[in-house]
Symmetry: C2
Subunit: 344 residues, 2 copies
Amino acid sequence: MADDNPTISYEDLASIEDDFEEVDTEIMRKQYEISQPAYEKRAQAVAKIPTFWPLVFEQAPPEIDQYIQPADSQIINEHLESIEVNRIELDEDSSSGNPRSIRITFDFKPNEYFSDKSLSKTFWYRRAADGWTGLVSEPVKVHWKKGKDTTEGLNDGAHALFAARKKVGDMAGKGLPEYTALAKKLEHWNGSNTSFFTWFGFVSGRRYVSAEESKQATEHYQRKKSARKDDEQIAETDAKDDDDNDDDDDDDDAEDQDDQVVEVHEAGEDLAVGIAEDIWPNAIKYFTQAQEMGDMSDPEFEEDDEDDEEEGDDEPIDIRRLVQDTGNGRSRASDGPPAKRVKR
Amino acid sequence: MADDNPTISYEDLASIEDDFEEVDTEIMRKQYEISQPAYEKRAQAVAKIPTFWPLVFEQAPPEIDQYIQPADSQIINEHLESIEVNRIELDEDSSSGNPRSIRITFDFKPNEYFSDKSLSKTFWYRRAADGWTGLVSEPVKVHWKKGKDTTEGLNDGAHALFAARKKVGDMAGKGLPEYTALAKKLEHWNGSNTSFFTWFGFVSGRRYVSAEESKQATEHYQRKKSARKDDEQIAETDAKDDDDNDDDDDDDDAEDQDDQVVEVHEAGEDLAVGIAEDIWPNAIKYFTQAQEMGDMSDPEFEEDDEDDEEEGDDEPIDIRRLVQDTGNGRSRASDGPPAKRVKR
């Protein structure tokens, strides 16, 4: 903007915010690129510590931990082998992909709850026609073993509704029997009082946005940004915004508001971001913290657990010993640290 | 580390954490570099909005706002012209400077409180011989006008003690009259119940660390990191750590613990980081939020203010009108938005 421009508009400030957002996007790309070697080295190292990821999740901060119920903890503690986070658009195109689209993959040992060896959930960063942006995801089916579904049918219901909507070609469709069934199930559930595994059924914090809608909305947004920049360059003229420049609110908001009611995990986006931007980069810190907690642990802080009889060994932890117990279950070397299982 | 290495030690994990830290440092440098044009554009734009920085501070989050007392708010609201944050080591050397050292500069209009036009506080990121890292700073003297010192002498006391310690060459010295005087003053004060301006007297969250001590400690740390990396490369051997590798705790901690008692603003480091990493990059968001709050504001939410008589105009805000009131004092255009002054 010209130095002698005596006035500043919201559009001018919005244009500067656009610049900051572009910087953030660029920095996220760069960070993904240059941190890959450290993540690969970490993956190789922690593959040798069977308790690594279960202990990391035990130390998850409240924003994440609040969505992990006792039954979930048991599955994670005993059967989680590893997690992995990918920035999928950057894997395709490191220079222009959106770094906010993520895939989170959980690998499990064979277990009595479900037959999946791996549950991989993809979150696409999308822009709706009305300017909303956020992560959307297709429900991932968990193949529960008989009587073992901790989500009490919510995950299956989300998956069935999405498939039915896709079939009729209306992602907001409410006339479907799958909609009625899931809406009824959800009267008393919303993700904060259900199993962590309902998160695999998450679709969106508002409504599903297709790749096609997002593509058009993004092009529209880019034109708007360019127009703001052009405005800057001719700041002294009274350039009027064109049609493209003034429609953040002229949309189907009212319709969108209603669609939330069939989301099985309302905080699904926050949880995804929390795993990708806190648990994943800080895993070694959480693991170390778990070891220290284990070191200080006291019988009265332990939940009931059939394997507690050997606890009370307060010696410094030797990971080498922990690691040598590479049996099928969670490491329970009797001279290892008693793992802290208390929930904060 | 070799794939066939069957064991993992804490040193191995620490070495991976070293790699992540190097990535973070590199990313901070890159971010500083590529965001400069946006910051420059913003500085030019907001220079035309006299209420910009006061309104940003009004919206500061609790972590910062808790240290701003009513008298401080008055000074900021009426006299703060602008702030600026620099990564001083990067300004000197963009490729190897530490991005964590910062300088925060407040520019003020001529006012009845102090004669300084500008108060600039520098925080150096330093490493102590015992491995502690953090920001240290020399007290900045505020030239208070008679009877106007909101810090009630604490700022002067911190400045005098630092000068006296420098003179005798003992930065932890306690035998000095300036030490006794400040310690006595501080019996009931700690930064959270004193004026924001005591922050200009902040030295360190623990003790002052000189550039020379930090230089030696950093070289020592680098050798340790290299040794960890070498360990990795010869993972199968039983390479013993050398002396350099095992002394994070064999130091003068006990002595250090005591030195905190004469810090005039115990949370000074958090406050500096909060200003540099939240207020500074998010200023436009906070300003916009302040405008929206102003829009919704209601007489009952307003503090006593002599200029409230024209409030209640709930029309959308036109910054152009705000800006045109570029008088000496804070913009109070009668048809502008009533600024929200309530403290959260």
